[in-house]
């Protein structure tokens, strides 16, 4: 076999990327990750736009995470302009974000990743071999979308979430419908924890990366980053994440102390704050356990959504006009948890409320360093295995990180 490398397009991930396996004779000696998404230059696009346009544009970074991008951007804008939202708006947003979490995790688990565990080639394989599991997954996914749509007006690029509030407050009947749907699917979601954690793992355990997550607010929300050793306040988060441009990737790179790649996302969130009830599912917390973390988070999200719906219903839904922002110079940063991990939006506005600087840091760009390291380790662990086998496992490994490359290269 010739020397050289072969690039395979990554499939069943969001966005465009590839894994390059470098061969020397018959052996695979190296593996590299390429994020080949076309940059849209969002940070540059946003400059010059009025504050109320920022969330509408920024959510177009990514469809799967559009709700959380929108909410992040709203939070950053509101911070910059000192807008205080009502409790109802906060709860509604939180519910929408949980809806996004449910949709994204269900999509990943039941449509994109499950085929790896069942040895089929994608949704078409599931339709042929596991139609019932697929249908169940789709039901859960649909629920996530229903939540996002109920609050945001649309499952993708929700438009009903505005600076200072929401356009139309959903009706009690709509929330009661959500309540029923959540109740109806709760058992299935619980059952899927057992199903997913019982799936046969093909991946070897690999070294763990230091974890980082948002903390200090309701689930997925907060005002600081935490690692096992540090706490970073939101205003220093961007500096701490210290994104660097590197020649080999369109996505900027963050490393611990400039050197060590780290992990964000479901597994990082759970390792940093493991609910005791779920601890027994984790025999190891290397990246191959990410599927389990995701299904557990799916469960947590459904539970949290139920709580939120009840809170809203108990409070009684009120017609509210969005809080009017007073245009002023200002700067605001928001950190929160997207399905794939830490998401930061930061904006500066001039005295006309026009954006003069934007910074967006996304989970997959943070994770790309960890993915690259894991890939290299995998090659060592699997040394001697067939090229095809390595290829399959390498792709599966990347999928464990559920990369969202549109976000990473935005």
């Amino acid at each position: 076999m010739s020397n050289g490398s072969k690039i395979d397009i990554l499939t069943r991930v969001e966005g465009h990327g590839s894994v390059e396996l470098v061969r020397d004779g018959g052996r695979v000696v190296d593996a590299c990750l390429h994020l080949s998404e076309s940059p849209r230059l969002f940070e540059a696009l946003l400059v010059g736009r009025r504050f109320d346009e920022i969330p509408d544009i920024a959510c177009r970074i990514c469809s799967i995470c559009s709700t959380v991008h929108k909410v992040s951007a709203l939070q950053a804008v509101e911070k910059a302009l000192a807008v205080n939202i009502s409790r109802q708006t906060g709860l509604l947003r939180e519910l929408a974000v949980q809806g996004g979490q449910i949709e994204s995790h269900a999509l990943h688990i039941f449509c994109l990743a499950l085929p790896d565990y069942l040895g089929v080639n994608g949704i078409q394989g599931l339709v042929a071999h596991e139609p019932e599991k697929l249908r169940m997954g789709l039901k859960i996914k649909k629920l996530g979308n229903l939540i996002q749509e109920t609050i945001g007006g649309r499952a993708i690029h929700p438009f009903n979430l505005l600076v200072g509030g929401v356009g139309k407050v959903p009706g009690a009947d709509q929330l009661l419908h959500l309540k029923d749907q959540l109740e109806e699917l709760r058992d299935e979601v619980t059952a899927s924890i057992a199903y997913v954690s019982g799936l046969n793992d093909i991946l070897p355990p690999l070294s763990m990366h230091p974890a980082c997550a948002v903390s200090g607010g309701p689930p997925l929300f907060g005002n600081r980053l935490v690692t096992s050793t540090e706490t970073i306040a939101v205003n220093s988060a961007a500096a701490w994440l210290d994104e660097q441009v590197e020649a080999h990737t369109y996505a900027k790179v963050s490393r611990f102390g400039g050197k060590i790649p780290f992990l964000v996302g479901p597994l990082a969130r759970l390792t940093l704050a493991m609910p005791a009830a779920y601890a027994h599912y984790f025999t190891d917390t290397s990246i191959r356990s990410a599927m389990k973390a995701r299904v557990i988070e799916l469960h947590l999200a459904v539970e949290r959504a139920q709580v939120l719906v009840d809170l809203l219903l108990n409070d009684g839904l009120k017609r509210e006009q969005p809080v009017v922002a007073i245009v002023a110079q200002g700067e605001g940063t928001s950190v929160m948890e997207a399905p794939r991990g830490v998401l930061l939006h930061s904006y500066r506005f001039d005295d006309r409320g026009v954006c003069c600087a934007a910074d967006i840091i996304t989970p997959t760009s943070i994770n790309q360093g960890a993915i690259a390291v894991s890939l290299k380790e995998l090659i060592v662990v699997m040394d001697g295995a067939e090229y095809e086998q390595i290829r399959t496992v390498a792709e599966m490994l990347v999928r464990c990180y559920d990369p969202c490359i549109s976000c990473a290269v935005h």
């Binding site: 076309s38 469809s63 078409q124």
Partner: protein
């Protein structure tokens, strides 16, 4: 019946149009039974461009040389090439600052490191290949995608829409946000088909479906300016989704 061979590809975009299809949860199993998605990297492995396609659905605009190659390849192999979503049809959000120095924009993000220096000003698909049909929207409506696919199985392409968002907004008997509330609603100039999604919830149309045919920009500008929105503001807004709006 023989399955139709369909390719679904994404160029410079957010994957939202593809996700809109994957969001057809109720119909998804049936879709995968009716269609052979031979090239659909987002949902199927492996992603190999092989043989011919009855249709290629392409999301996103073009901003990189490799995308041009992929698009030309898809055009060559497909009976119908369909532009999926606002980016593919009009340019979309990525084309927001078209007309400005691309290299300067790139440097705002990547500094002097020459990363992604091959990027060029985002183009809608029709600027490079012949497009047989278009489904606009950011994202498109699920219903439109399903109708498109159902039509393709019968050899039919979708019938174009020629009315603005206002038409559907009025049919839904909504309060007019522009005339009654002086809000900055772009429904007058924007292609309909979304059922006036946004104004129906009291949120002004942001123009996500691109220009309606025969848009009367001159008169609209008059009306907007009466409401306090100047020409530059209006054009800036319109260009959020379609860079080709001109005075």
């Amino acid at each position: 019946m023989k399955k139709m061979r369909v390719a679904i590809a994404g160029l410079t975009a957010c994957s939202g149009c593809q996700l809109a299809l994957l969001n057809c949860e109720d119909e998804l199993p049936e879709l995968f039974e009716k269609f052979a998605f031979h090239f659909f990297p987002m949902a199927c492995s492996p992603a190999l461009l092989e043989g011919e396609y009855d249709a290629a659905l392409v999301e996103g605009c073009l901003s990189m040389p490799h995308e041009k190659e992929l698009l030309l390849e898809l055009r060559k192999r497909s009976v119908h090439l369909i532009a999926l979503g606002t980016c593919a049809v009009w340019g979309g959000v990525a084309a927001l600052r078209n007309g400005e120095d691309r290299e300067w924009l790139r440097q705002q993000v990547y500094g002097h490191n020459p990363v992604a220096s091959e990027t060029f000003e985002p183009l809608p698909l029709h600027r490079v290949v012949k497009v047989d049909a278009a489904v606009t929207g950011c994202p498109p409506e699920k219903e439109e995608l399903l109708r498109l696919l159902a039509g393709l199985t019968r050899g039919a392409l979708p019938v174009g829409i020629d009315y603005p968002v206002c038409t559907e907004c009025r049919m839904r008997e909504n309060l007019c946000l522009l005339t009654e509330r002086d809000m900055f609603c772009l429904g007058l100039l924007t292609l309909g088909g979304c059922g006036a999604r946004c104004p129906s919830l009291g949120v002004p149309c942001e123009g996500c479906r691109g220009p309606v045919p025969e848009a009367n920009l001159a008169e609209a500008l008059e009306i907007y300016s009466e409401k306090g929105f100047g020409r530059i503001t209006v054009l800036d807004r319109l260009r959020r989704f379609c860079p080709e709006w001109k005075l």
